[in-house]
């Protein structure tokens, strides 16, 4: 198992109060698996990714990635952030090659790797553009190329398509699936979009409302590659509706607790 999460909890201090964001989560991911995590907003699913990224410290429990206990951020876990966090002062290729640059790899290798991944995401001709000159979808591709370029063992994706319009979002889902098929990375992908979770995942993990616990872990046995038309098929709907029912209970519970 390339990712092992063992009874991990995370508590935040909010003023005097203590808020439990992640409650006793255990989870394993096999190498090359694409796992999506859905849950009501504020359920701690992003927190789990931040813990795995090493940006936050767990209150209890342990996490191992590729056998190593997670203690701090590192390039073995590639994080794609919700707001992408591209460096606006760097060109597209400057962003994609950044990790190799700080890791002190030779310039020739940097250029070659940067080119390869820009090719993969279809942005070779934009390599000298600055992020502000790109559309939302193009920025997503740059962020994806940047995280792939340093060849992490695991990709952690935190609602990366959350800010895109519906059409661009579908295109990016197809694109991500194609890229994943060529790189075969292990992926943990957090989203609140049920269709996205089912379409992309080998497994869909449903989180409860806060505190975040794993409510269900569903295998999605839809064949790959999955064309976007698959979203119209009865098999897809069946999976989707199962996730939807599970999630609906949690959303309602979260709402009741808020109004209580």
């Amino acid at each position: 198992m390339i990712v092992e999460v063992e009874r991990v909890s995370k508590e935040f201090a909010r003023g005097e109060q203590r808020v439990l964001a992640v409650d006793d989560v255990s989870l394993t991911v096999a190498e090359g698996e694409f796992v999506t995590i859905v849950g009501p907003s504020g359920c701690g699913k992003s927190t789990l990714l931040h813990l795995l990224g090493g940006f936050l410290e767990a209150s209890s429990g342990t996490m191992r990635v590729d056998g190593n206990v997670v203690t701090r951020p590192g390039p073995d876990r590639g994080m794609m952030f919700q707001d992408l966090a591209l460096f606006p002062w760097r060109t597209v290729s400057g962003n994609v090659g950044w990790a190799l640059e700080v890791q002190g790899r030779p310039a020739a290798e940097r250029v070659q790797v940067t080119d390869r991944y820009l090719q993969l995401v279809g942005l070779r001709s934009f390599k000298n553009a600055f992020p502000h000159e790109l559309s939302g979808g193009m920025k997503q591709r740059v962020a994806l190329a940047r995280v792939l370029a340093f060849d992490p063992a695991v990709l952690l994706m935190d609602e990366p398509f959350g800010s895109l319009d519906a059409q661009t979002r579908e295109l990016m889902q197809e694109e991500l699936q194609r890229i994943w098929a060529t790189t075969r990375k292990t992926v943990l992908f957090v989203t609140h979009d049920i269709d996205e979770a089912v379409y992309l995942g080998d497994r869909v993990i449903v989180f409860t409302a806060r505190p975040g616990r794993i409510k269900a872990d569903l295998a999605i046995d839809l064949p790959r590659p999955r064309p976007i038309e698959l979203k119209k098929s009865p098999a897809f709907f069946e999976h989707r509706n199962r996730v939807w029912d599970l999630l609906r209970e949690e959303v309602l519970r979260a709402r009741d607790e808020e109004s209580a």
Binding site: F55, G74, R77, F87, A99, H132
Partner: protein, 253 residues
């Protein structure tokens, strides 16, 4: 070119009206005619006098600015990044910033005499503040996600500082430098007007002309200060646009 022409239209019109009013005797004689000021300025340029005065003034202001800006930016960046620096400098700067820096010139004159040194120190102290404040604010507005992304990609702390914090804060820093540049010229004039050792500097020239009743010379020297300040500001904008070409909307003059 067209924008330059638009920008010049009103000043040229004002000068023309001024000239006409002086020529017809509507304005009193002590208001020098623009043509007389121009003639004096070209004579100053021709004789090389103005170049000498300007060189001395530029040395004082730019040496002071270099020291003040460098120390302000470095300490501002460090205070934004390292708590121990912020704990010391933040209250110190807040406390001393409102003091008009020209007020300490008498103290500096006691320490360093009426020399270039006292002027340079005054200008360095004055320009330190906007640079420190800008760099400090710049660091504090760096998006935490950029730092997370950098650490995720394996950057060491010094690389995060050099390759994320410094470029991310650079728009603020350049804004601070622009304010500092103007202050350097203002303090240059003020300190030269108060006293100069070698009868050199544009500020000295203004006071010298004033005491001799040479209003044409005085206005010519003031014009020279203005032109120098304008040229320096444009040069800084040019550099800023180059450094900040990744940021489309700022520093478009």
């Amino acid at each position: 070119m067209r924008r330059a022409a638009e920008g010049l239209a009103i000043p040229v019109a004002v000068l023309a009206v001024w000239e006409a009013l002086s020529a017809t005797g509507v304005l009193p004689r002590y208001v020098s005619r623009p043509s007389a000021v121009g003639a004096e300025l070209s004579q100053l340029v021709g004789s090389g006098d103005v170049v000498q005065h300007a060189a001395v003034s530029l040395y004082r202001s730019m040496a002071g600015l270099a020291i003040g800006a460098l120390s302000g930016v470095v300490l501002g960046l460090l205070s934004g990044s390292i708590r121990a620096f912020a704990v010391f400098f933040d209250p110190l700067v807040s406390f001393t910033n409102p003091v008009p820096k020209i007020a300490i010139l008498p103290v500096l004159i006691v320490w360093f005499g009426i020399t270039d040194t006292s002027k340079i120190v005054l200008i360095a102290i004055t320009t330190f503040y906007p640079c420190f404040i800008a760099a400090y604010a710049g660091v504090r507005q760096v998006q935490p996600a950029w730092i997370w992304a950098a650490r995720n990609m394996g950057a060491r702390a010094d690389q995060v500082f050099r390759k994320v914090i410094v470029p991310a804060a650079s728009p603020h820093i350049l804004g601070g430098l622009r304010i500092a540049l103007a202050l350097a010229f203002i303090l240059m004039f003020a300190s030269e007007a108060i006293g100069t050792a070698h009868r050199a500097g544009l500020g000295y020239l203004v006071i010298f002309a004033e005491s001799g009743g040479r209003h044409d010379l005085m206005l010519a020297a003031i014009t020279a200060i203005g032109l120098l300040g304008f040229a320096a500001d444009r040069l800084l904008l040019l550099v800023a646009r180059r450094v900040l070409r990744w940021q489309p909307e700022v520093f478009r003059a």
